[in-house]
């Protein structure tokens, strides 16, 4: 097998929390050597000159929706994989909220087969927590884990019956399975399209207080204390939920939390005149919330950032705001969009990749997310400064529902390697 040497790189190392010049040698799908000199002499290696640009561990994106099975017209494994590669995402961790949902080992095997055929990046599936995602009966965790499920979640269908969730978490604990919750008090947030406050009232839209998120998180954390299950909160967006999270971590519970690229970079006012491409779940929050969430990522209280890539076709979005579907695509845009936080001085690059690559890999027990010798050669090379205007029709996703259409962004992916294979070249 050939050797590839990426020279002249600015190495973004989230593990060492450092940015330094260096080179990476790829061989047999792994990082064979890491050099602290920009141009080491390696015999017989193909040279890729990074030209001083950033090289970081590839992104591990937890919570990606692919339209298979059921909605392949919105996104297939092929298009999702291309979008991921173009966005520097080397592992996509898929959501089970498909039609039908992924709640049996047979369904899981189907998507693993499809993913292997079609996607140029790693695909790891999550499975539903309850059958049919209807919150009544737990799925076959054991069989599903044998088939490759890396976590269990009902996505935005919150399990309302606490007894059901308690049992599922108890059972998950016995298998050491990871449960991913969507912290939300479902009766309070039912029907809501935006966060409560002045904007919601001005637009006359049904609203939910961000407090519903804290209530959901508090319940889930109490269940972690009760059952000992491993728990990950998918999206934390409200400042008021952070003290609960902080307390849970301080008490040593096995709790981690994520947030989304949209809640880190947009606020409720971006919805403006009912722009449905900005409708996400949970709804965009106030600027105070956004800043608190950015700070929580910086401090490490929030562990993981995801795109929560949710492809929707035009028909699902071109409706009155209340009726329009939620979600936005993000695989391809996540890195350039999040680089806004780097350019504004809110997050350093190693911090960003700690949340994008290192922490999600760790949480799922993967060896990826690092720039160390022996780690998988899942890498992203990007120019952090290159400016461009996003044209949604040029996205590789089948669905073009991004809130960043026509946005001025700075930072472009130049190349992506998955297990040492180059899967994207700008």
């Amino acid at each position: 097998m050939t050797k590839t040497l990426i020279t002249n790189a600015k190495l973004i190392d989230p593990e060492a929390d450092s940015v330094s010049p260096g080179a990476i040698l790829i061989e047999n799908g792994v990082i064979a050597e890491r050099f602290d000199t920009p141009a080491p002499d390696v015999a017989g290696a193909d040279i890729v000159d990074a030209g001083g640009k950033c090289l970081a561990p590839g992104i591990v994106d937890i919570g990606v929706k692919v339209g298979e099975p059921g909605e392949r017209h919105k996104e297939s494994y092929g298009t999702a994989g291309l979008a991921a590669a173009a966005g520097g995402v080397t592992t996509i961790v898929t959501r089970p909220d498909t039609t039908p949902c992924i709640d049996t080992p047979e369904a899981l095997e189907f998507i693993r087969r499809r993913a292997n055929e079609a996607a140029p990046v790693h695909v790891l599936p999550m499975a539903a927590l309850t059958k049919g995602r209807d919150g009544r009966e737990m799925t076959e965790f054991g069989f599903l884990m044998d088939a490759g499920a890396v976590a269990f979640t009902d996505c935005d269908n919150v399990v309302g019956d606490t007894k059901v969730l308690a049992r599922a978490m108890t059972y998950a604990q016995s298998l050491d399975a990871l449960v991913m919750g969507h912290p939300q008090e479902p009766t309070l947030s039912k029907g809501a399209a935006v966060s409560s406050g002045k904007f919601a009232t001005l637009r006359g839209l049904p609203a939910v207080s961000p407090m519903a998120e804290r209530m959901g998180l508090d319940r889930d954390i109490a269940l972690v204390e009760m059952t000992g299950a491993r728990y990950h909160a998918d999206v934390i967006t409200a400042a008021r939920a952070l003290p609960s999270l902080e307390r849970a971590k301080r008490n040593g519970f096995d709790v981690t939390a994520g947030t989304s690229m949209h809640h880190l970079t947009l606020n409720e006012l971006d919805v403006a005149d009912y722009r449905t491409f900005f409708k996400v779940k949970p709804p965009l929050r106030s600027e105070d919330d956004r800043q608190a969430i950015v700070a929580a990522v910086r401090d490490g209280l929030i562990d993981i950032i995801g795109s929560f890539h949710t492809p929707q076709d035009e028909e699902s979005k071109r409706l009155p705001y209340e009726e329009a579907a939620s979600g936005a695509v993000g695989l391809e845009t996540m890195l350039p969009v999040l680089l806004r936080l780097y350019h504004s001085g809110e997050l350093e690059l190693p911090t960003l990749f700690r949340a994008l690559s290192l922490n999600p890999a760790k949480r799922l027990g993967l060896d990826a997310g690092r720039l160390a010798k022996g780690a998988p050669a899942d890498l992203v090379l990007f120019d952090a400064d290159k400016p461009f205007v996003l044209d949604r029709f040029k996205l590789k996703s089948k669905s073009k529902n991004t809130p960043f259409d026509s946005a001025r962004l700075q930072g472009k992916v130049l190349g992506t390697w998955v297990s040492g294979q180059r899967v994207f070249e700008a």
């Binding site: 029907g191 409560s196 637009r203 839209l205 009912y274 071109r318 409706l319």
Partner: protein, 316 residues
């Protein structure tokens, strides 16, 4: 006199001088409407379609009469019975209608923002006749005209808006308009019927009606929107009437010449005492209906002038 709007989607985009322009013209139409021969040609040759996705008798009739008196060809479409039931989307309906070249589209829709969405897809002038809990601009304008004629001015008045603020598009439009015209606005109602973030709207909020009505010039009552509630906002109608229903005793703390308004239809004995509603010395509820026709004539007249002045300005 300036009016630079292409549509009338809400009070929010209007400047104070544009509001005055509408009201001044509406004043002329009040006189006109009281004459025996009430037929004008301001909208002659134009087609007006009233598209109501939500039941309405009063507003639809008001728009219809307004259009007809100005010479428009008026057509009513009851959308609940139509293709929307067959699964056609709002956009498709809009495009279909647009192909028939209407000039004025009057739209009421149960979802906030739906009229805005529709206006982006058609070439004609769109008037919002109420969208969800968002805005109902012609109601706020007719209320403003009623107040201005009764009080002689539309600024520096103490105005109380009472009742179900949370579910009311009338309240939102009125708050925006009265605020733009520099009045003091009080909102009176139980806290369960106050929308979130209301403290940022430049209003004073009261949950005690006797305090809220003290020395006010205008009392605007709102209908309890029972059909928009999913339960549990108030303990019972009788307790609501006791605490927030307008009667002579509660009104006695307002100024002696305070007027009483209601956008209709009224729930007598729920939010307002029947006798008080009929008291011609206090209640201007019938005037509001009259002003409604005049204001709608003025709004459509002004939009039609802009339409005729900029015929090329159309959506792709």
């Amino acid at each position: 006199m300036r009016f630079d709007q292409r549509h009338l989607l809400g009070i929010e985009p209007l400047r104070p001088d544009e509001i005055t322009t509408i009201l001044d013209l509406a004043d002329q139409y009040v006189t006109f409407n009281r004459s025996r021969d009430k037929h004008a040609n301001a909208l002659a040759g134009l087609t007006q379609i009233n598209m109501f996705f939500e039941n309405s008798t009063r507003t639809q009739a008001s728009f219809e009469i307004a259009g007809k008196r100005l010479g428009a060809d008026v057509m009513n479409m009851a959308m609940q019975a139509s293709s929307i039931k067959k699964g056609e989307t709002l956009i498709d309906t809009a495009m279909t209608l647009n192909a028939m070249h209407p000039d004025l589209l009057v739209v009421r829709h149960p979802h906030s923002g739906a009229v805005d969405l529709l206006s982006q897809k058609v070439n004609c002038a769109v008037l919002n006749a109420g969208d969800g809990k968002h805005e109902h601009p012609t109601q706020a304008l007719l209320d403003a005209l009623t107040i201005r004629r009764a009080k002689g001015r539309l600024h520096r008045l103490n105005i109380a808006i009472c009742g179900d603020i949370a579910h009311s598009r009338v309240a939102r439009s009125n708050i925006l308009l009265l605020h733009k015209m520099e009045n003091r606005i009080r909102l009176v109602g139980p806290s369960t019927l106050m929308p979130s973030g209301i403290e940022h709207f430049g209003v004073e909020v009261y949950d005690d009606m006797r305090k809220g009505l003290e020395d006010v010039d205008v009392v605007m009552m709102l209908r309890l929107q029972r059909e928009r509630m999913d339960g549990g906002f108030i303990p019972s109608e009788r307790e609501y009437y006791h605490r927030y229903g307008l009667d002579a005793a509660k009104l006695s703390v307002a100024k002696d010449d305070a007027i009483v308004m209601h956008p209709g239809p009224m729930n007598r004995g729920v939010e307002i005492d029947g006798t008080l509603a009929d008291d011609i010395n206090r209640s201007v509820i019938q005037d509001q209906v009259e002003m409604g026709v005049a204001v709608r004539m003025a709004a459509m007249d002004l939009l039609a002038r802009n339409l005729r002045a900029n015929p090329k300005e159309v959506m792709a």
